[in-house]
Amino acid sequence: MGESNDGIPSPATDEPHPGPGRVGFGRPVAYGLVLGLLAMLAWGLVRAESGPRGSGRAPDFTLTGFDGRMVTLSELRGQVVVVNFWASWCPPCREEAAYLERTWRAYEDRGVVFIGVDWVDTEKEALAYIDEFDITYINGPDIGTRIAQAYRIRGVPETFFVDKAGQLRGVYIGPLYPPELDNRIEELLAEPETTTSS
């Protein structure tokens, strides 16, 4: 019976069995949905295989610091932003912590913003870590790892650089050592504010 229109999406009226075959009315819809889903999976796969984000618009987020301060990335247009993912249990993070803080103090007056995102951690130890390295830039927990997911981090430490136009301008995986951080910040600071890089 159904052989005549095999494989060809048929309009709803073709359905010979209004009873159990009710699914049939949406044959093209069903194919469309499945193909759409597959297309989305393909896209997701390509994206997942491409590793952490290093370019494009920086995913926006609002972070509430351990000290109650709040920061929203999109409100920082015109400023160079360094987003650092860390955790108190992560030894390589300790290697870069003092350098990060030192650099932040050096650039604070030049409108550079540092944001520390504490990934999969416990508050008490995180606070002890912040105390230990006397970190003064804003640091807060990544609740539900939302921010980490948006930036597709693979682990900690990872550091993302956001330019004045809010575009991601690279990611650094692993602990930062002088003068890497200074160089990157200088480079972004040197750009005029109106630049909208691709």
Binding site: G19, P20, G21, M40, L41, A48, E49, T122, R146
Partner: protein, 693 residues
């Protein structure tokens, strides 16, 4: 050598499964039984051949043969032999081989059965099941081979993994392995993958039968359903147990005091469970009344596809997750296979739709059939809601460029009412007669249950005066439980009256002679126990956190926790342990000594928080060691959760297993047939089916 034997066996297994699939399809298409017989032999051989491969890998793990990259990745000298064996499924390569091996085992068992009936399905069952097996064995051979070794290329800094020596490469054998991820060293996580895989792979059998029935144009008969009933139940049971073990692991290891977080991984597993549950119920109607045939097909195809889909999205990192495997060709291969499965089964179903005629139309608005149809719809609605919430981050990123993750509140609010309706239905459905049921007679039978459940709820409400929102949940569980228990009661009473049996004897015989039915009710009770745990989690959970010095205490819900001591010592399996000693009191009475810990795994640089739990049926006192200022007598921080009813979830899991075992246990044929005599065996056509029976 053993490793080479293992690899060789894997290759042979792949060849055999490809051959079995092709030969069966050819034999089925051309009607050549010799080809089918040959395919059957090959299909049965795949399992023993893969067993050689698995044994070789396990032996390598036990010997700590670090020449194999996989062994170096997942085992270490500090791990006990037991943990080394479980490392078989502790990493990507091993788990794919393990998966393929389990699937081959299922297929072998299914193909070996006598096949007195449904012979025309055999070739297509082999073809479909072996194609799937070949895919997984193929992944293992070509993409994630567990027998790969490490090589050092001249001038390169990083190691290369390969089966055979690349040109100019030096073999590299590490002196110590990385060891199994510490978070996975828990009985829940050791048993969770095997049970989950058994569930997922088990559904291959009903799926293969369903596809075979469609190809062989036997979808209008229920032979495939009868043949796979036990497979489906067992697969479903394993999937359920896998979910519960995963929950238990999260509860014990992840240290957030809960057992279900609507994480993509959990959802990935929940979706096939939901459709699988709907399928189980739907085919009962097909068997009994010859209805809902298309539903059965759709649901089994969905269940199988969602198992693949779930594995895909979580394992390839398409949706962020702790389960994601490293970047490899696995993703694209999986993607192609999923695409073919989705589109292939869907177009086959569309072609065969005219075959799947219903033998009866719905006769009354209120009947057992409509209850089943409604529950199918509810299960699908929940599946869709969960699906939407799981893929929404991808959709939002695609559309708006920003990844928006929907959290537990979305899932709770959207699925909550559907689950609520399902539980009401669970209580009502057994009261409904087949074909049609009067509203008045339903009201008569349901009224006593309603009254009993309201009385129970009033009792609950008195105890939990402070949580009016929870009353509905408690009523729900009471109502459905009373309804299920009443079914047992009615059956026992009937036997006592007609056969003058003692209550105990009547109960045993009742259950023994209607295993399928009462096994099902027992499963329902198990589900209700889990529902109770969810109600407890949603409404009665309490938590507190405090920093204490030795001798100080904190209070939560009538309990007092007194901090006694904190010490550090080296533990087994390469960990450093910091353990607090605390005493738990209630109303001045000492209950238990609790020792929450923090284990630090030195090699992996990973801390694991091990809660201390005082467990009763009423509630758990769940204590976490959150932080401390030096060992000794500094201040130490504890987080304490009070989790009411949570142990009912684990008990419910036990009830589900018992119930399924009861209902799949082979009984006398006569009884099984007697209970299904209702169904009209005549298949003259849909026209007469409406009035007949």
């Amino acid at each position: 050598m053993l490793n080479d034997v293992g690899f060789l066996a894997l290759v042979i297994g792949f060849g055999l499964s490809v051959y079995a699939s092709a030969a069966a399809a050819w034999g089925g298409w051309k009607g050549r039984s010799t080809w089918v017989a040959s395919a059957r032999n090959a299909a049965c051989l795949v399992f023993p051949v893969l067993t050689v491969s698995v044994v070789a890998l396990v032996a390598a793990l036990l010997r700590l043969d670090f020449r194999l990259a996989y062994v170096a990745d997942v085992s270490s000298q500090a791990m006990s032999p037991f943990l080394r064996v479980t490392a078989l499924w502790g990493g990507q390569q091993g788990s794919i081989l393990f998966w393929a091996w389990l699937m081959a085992g299922f297929v072998c068992a299914a193909v070996l059965r006598p096949w007195r009936d449904n012979r025309e399905l055999l070739p297509w069952v082999i073809a479909v099941a072996m194609l799937t097996t070949a895919f997984f064995v193929g992944l293992s051979v070509f993409i994630t081979n567990p027998f790969e070794r490490y090589w050092l290329l001249p001038g390169a800094q990083d190691l290369t993994r390969a089966l055979f020596a690349p040109r100019g490469a030096m073999p590299y054998v590490p002196s110590e392995g990385d060891g199994l991820n510490p978070l996975l060293r828990h009985f829940g996580m050791i048993a969770h993958p095997p049970t989950t895989y058994l569930g997922f792979t088990g559904f291959v059998i009903p799926f293969a039968f369903a596809i075979a029935a469609l190809i062989a144009r036997k979808g209008q008969e229920d032979g495939w359903i009868r043949a796979t009933r036990r497979w489906t139940l067992v697969a479903w049971m394993f999937l359920s147990v896998g979910l519960i073990l995963g929950g238990r692991w999260a509860y014990d290891v992840l240290g957030w005091g809960g057992f279900w977080g609507w994480d993509p991984v959990e959802n990935a597993m929940l979706m096939p469970w939901l459709t699988g549950t709907a399928f189980l119920h739907s085919v009962m109607i097909t068997e009994k009344r010859g209805m809902l045939k298309v539903w059965g097909m759709i649901l089994i195809i969905l269940t199988y596809s969602l198992s693949l889909f779930g594995t895909f999205i979580t394992r390839t990192g398409v949706i962020g997750s702790v389960h994601a495997f490293a970047k490899s060709a696995l993703g694209p291969a999986f993607f192609v296979f999923i695409g073919l499965t989705f589109l292939g089964s869907m177009s086959l179903l569309f072609r065969r739709l005219p075959d799947l005629r219903t033998e009866h139309e719905l006769e009354g608005l209120l009947s057992r059939e409509t209850a089943f149809l409604l529950q199918n719809l509810l299960f699908l609605a929940i599946t869709f809601a969960v699906f939407w919430g799981t893929v929404f981050p991808m959709i939002s990123e695609l559309v708006t460029g920003t990844k928006i993750t929907v959290g537990p509140p979305y899932f709770k609010q959207v699925t909550g009412p559907f689950f609520f309706a399902l539980l009401v239905l669970m209580g009502l459905a057994p009261l409904l007669a087949w074909r049609r049921h009067g509203l008045r007679s339903l009201a008569r039978t349901a009224a006593p249950l309603l009254v009993a459940s309201l009385v129970l709820t009033a009792g609950w409400a008195y105890v939990h005066r402070l949580h009016p929102a929870a009353w509905a949940g408690l009523w729900l569980v009471s109502f459905a439980s009373v309804a299920v228990l009443a079914e047992f009661g009615k059956g026992v009473q009937a036997r006592m009256e007609t056969r003058r049996e003692t209550p105990a004897l009547a109960f045993v015989r009742l259950v023994g002679r209607n295993r399928r039915r009462y096994g099902g009710y027992l499963v329902h009770l198990g589900v209700l126990m889990i529902a109770l745990a969810f109600v407890g989690d949603a409404y009665f959970k309490q938590e507190t956190q405090d920093t204490l010095r030795v001798g100080e205490q904190l209070a939560i819900g009538g309990y007092r926790l007194v901090f006694e001591d904190l010490r550090a010592y080296p533990g087994t399996d390469g960990r450093e342990i910091v353990e607090a000693q605390a005493s738990l009191y209630r109303g001045g009475k000492f209950l238990a000594a609790l020792a929450p810990r923090r284990d630090y795994f030195v090699v992996q640089e990973q801390p694991v928080t091990v809660p201390a739990v005082y467990a009763t049926l009423a509630e758990d006192v769940y204590v976490l060691l959150v932080g401390w200022e030096g060992t000794g007598y500094g201040s130490t921080t504890f987080k304490v959760y009070l989790n009411p009813f949570i142990n009912w979830a684990w008990l419910g899991g036990g009830a589900i297993v018992l119930g399924v075992l009861l209902s799949v246990f082979p009984g006398s044929r006569a009884y099984a047939e007697a209970s299904y005599r209702l169904r009209s065996r005549r298949l003259e056509g849909a026209e007469t089916a409406g009035e007949s029976t």
